[in-house]
């Protein structure tokens, strides 16, 4: 389990890795969605502000939009999820990040995020 993971109320997580940040969807959100059949991710190089919609994850049941937990520039997207969205159900959630970003405002943006354990207590 990644120990510096922070989670948003809209069920995205973010953690620091090698000076950049990985953003993904929490296990709780994935469990709620059920079988995931579609993932739409942003263009590399584009910039999104905290709270902005950066992509979509759709399960058999429903579409769920993804919100930036912190502001930043997209430096990488997890391309294998485009072809195999079901990996989100099959693989450990903390390894299946959706996007990697660089961020100058990480420390200012995390005020409303909670650590994973506290997040789990709140949602369950």
């Amino acid at each position: 389990m990644i120990d510096n993971m922070l989670c948003s109320k809209s069920h995205e997580y973010v953690y620091e890795k090698d000076g950049n940040y990985c953003i993904g969807l929490t296990d709780f959100a994935i469990e709620q969605l059920g079988d995931i059949v579609f993932v739409e991710l942003p263009e590399v190089g584009s910039y999104y502000s905290k709270g902005e919609i950066f992509g979509t994850v759709e399960s058999v049941k429903a579409a769920s939009e993804l919100y930036m937990p912190v502001s930043g520039k997209i430096i990488e997207t997890n391309e294998k999820l485009i072809e195999k969205p079901e990996l989100l159900n099959e693989e450990p959630f903390d390894g299946m990040w959706l996007i990697k970003i660089s961020s100058d405002s990480f420390n200012e943006d995390i005020g409303d995020l909670t650590d994973y354990n506290k997040y789990k207590e709140e949602v369950e």
Binding site: G34, E40, E58, V60
Partner: protein
């Protein structure tokens, strides 16, 4: 108050995820919608459909009365047979879609949608006029379990009803199983062969568990409403509230096959329906498959040459096909036909889709 079927505790024991559907707390999935879906196509699934309604019509004039309620020709029904019908209003709009079973002589059973039971019952009472009939809504005393899939017949045989005694497609039988009286019909909502069993509420748990046991060696699995929806969508079967409503006629809904064009008897909505049969309609239901990678969902706009021509009524991923499909209404004035390309507006972007015939899958629920 949200209602619970008599199988509620069984669903919880099977770790079902429960949701509110048409005023009922129902299982949406037990494990995975896709797995449940695929298992119905490959083996078989058992569904709690106790939320559906059972309205019995009997009495001297029951035939004439039902003839007055539906565009189908019920006179063609012999004892033990079923017909897919709609209750129509004076504008030809669909009050509900249903199966009409002729049990015996003047006794009919109408199996109606959960969301429409009260409404249908009131509608039927309201239109009784001077017909000499008895109308009984027995939805509260009956439960219903569906067993669907290529192994369904084997499972029912293992449960105690040998194949020779099983009803044929679109037929119903009153018989005994597990020492209880039931109605068993060869009908369903998945495009597969299968059965629907109507039993008294107090027998529901027994049936559920004994059928699950009989199905063990055939890989029978419980299936929730999630897969029920993907299965019916692949079979291009309409869902009341999505494809069908009071402002849509059976002709618009591509259900002309269930309208008797030569019916002599009057029925509610006949004038409008006959006029549409002769002159066409302004909108029609189409099926489509997504060409580009996007999922069309209920209420999304359908576009053609940058013009809005309709709306999606149902859409999603089709597990048996591996691509995304949908149903929707479009205006008929563009003369669009199978093979033509339309666009679906998904989150403010247009994605190409192709109009197809409604045979997404090969259906196995016809003739046997």
């Amino acid at each position: 108050m949200v209602k619970r079927t008599f199988l509620y505790d069984e669903h919880l024991k099977l770790n079902a995820k429960m949701v509110d559907f048409a005023g009922w707390e129902m299982p949406v999935q037990y494990h995975s919608i896709i797995e449940e879906h695929n298992n119905v196509r490959k083996n078989a699934g058992i569904f709690d459909v106790s939320h559906m309604g059972e309205i019995f019509v009997s009495g001297k004039e029951s035939l004439n009365f039902i003839q007055y309620l539906v565009p189908q020709n019920i006179e063609k029904l012999t004892d033990g047979k079923a017909m897919y019908c709609q209750l129509t209003n004076t504008n030809g709009g669909i009050v509900d879609d249903l199966l009409v079973y002729k049990l015996k002589d003047t006794n009919y059973l109408l199996v109606v949608n959960a969301s429409r039971v009260e409404n249908d019952y009131e509608w039927i009472i309201k239109n009784k006029n001077s017909f000499d009939v008895i109308i009984e809504n027995k939805s509260d005393i009956y439960s219903m379990i569906a067993i669907q899939g290529p192994k369904a017949s084997d499972i029912i045989e293992k449960a105690g009803l040998i194949k020779e005694e099983q009803p044929k497609t679109l037929c119903i039988k009153e018989t005994s199983l597990f020492d209880s009286k039931i109605y068993i019909s060869r009908t369903g909502y998945t495009g597969e062969d299968g059965f629907e069993i109507i039993m008294k509420n107090e027998d529901a748990v027994k049936f559920w568990n004994l059928i699950l046991k009989a199905g063990e060696k055939y890989n029978l699995l419980p299936v929730g409403l999630g897969a029920r929806d993907t299965l019916r969508l692949e079979a291009a079967m309409s869902l009341y509230g999505n494809e069908l409503n009071e402002t849509t006629t059976p002709i618009e809904a591509n259900l002309s096959w269930s309208v008797d064009k030569n019916k002599k008897e009057n029925y509610i909505g006949k004038k409008v329906i006959e006029s549409q049969l002769a002159n066409g309609t302004e909108k029609k239901l189409i099926a489509f498959k997504m060409i580009e990678r996007a999922i069309a969902r209920h209420e999304y706009e359908i576009m053609y040459n940058n013009e809005n021509i309709g709306k999606v009524t149902s859409g999603g991923f089709a597990p048996s096909l591996g691509f995304n499909i949908g149903l929707g209404y479009i205006k008929t004035n563009k003369n669009l036909k199978n093979g033509d390309i339309i666009q679906i507006m998904v989150r403010n972007k247009l994605y190409n889709a192709q109009i197809t015939n409604k045979n997404f899958i090969i259906k196995h629920n016809k003739g046997n």
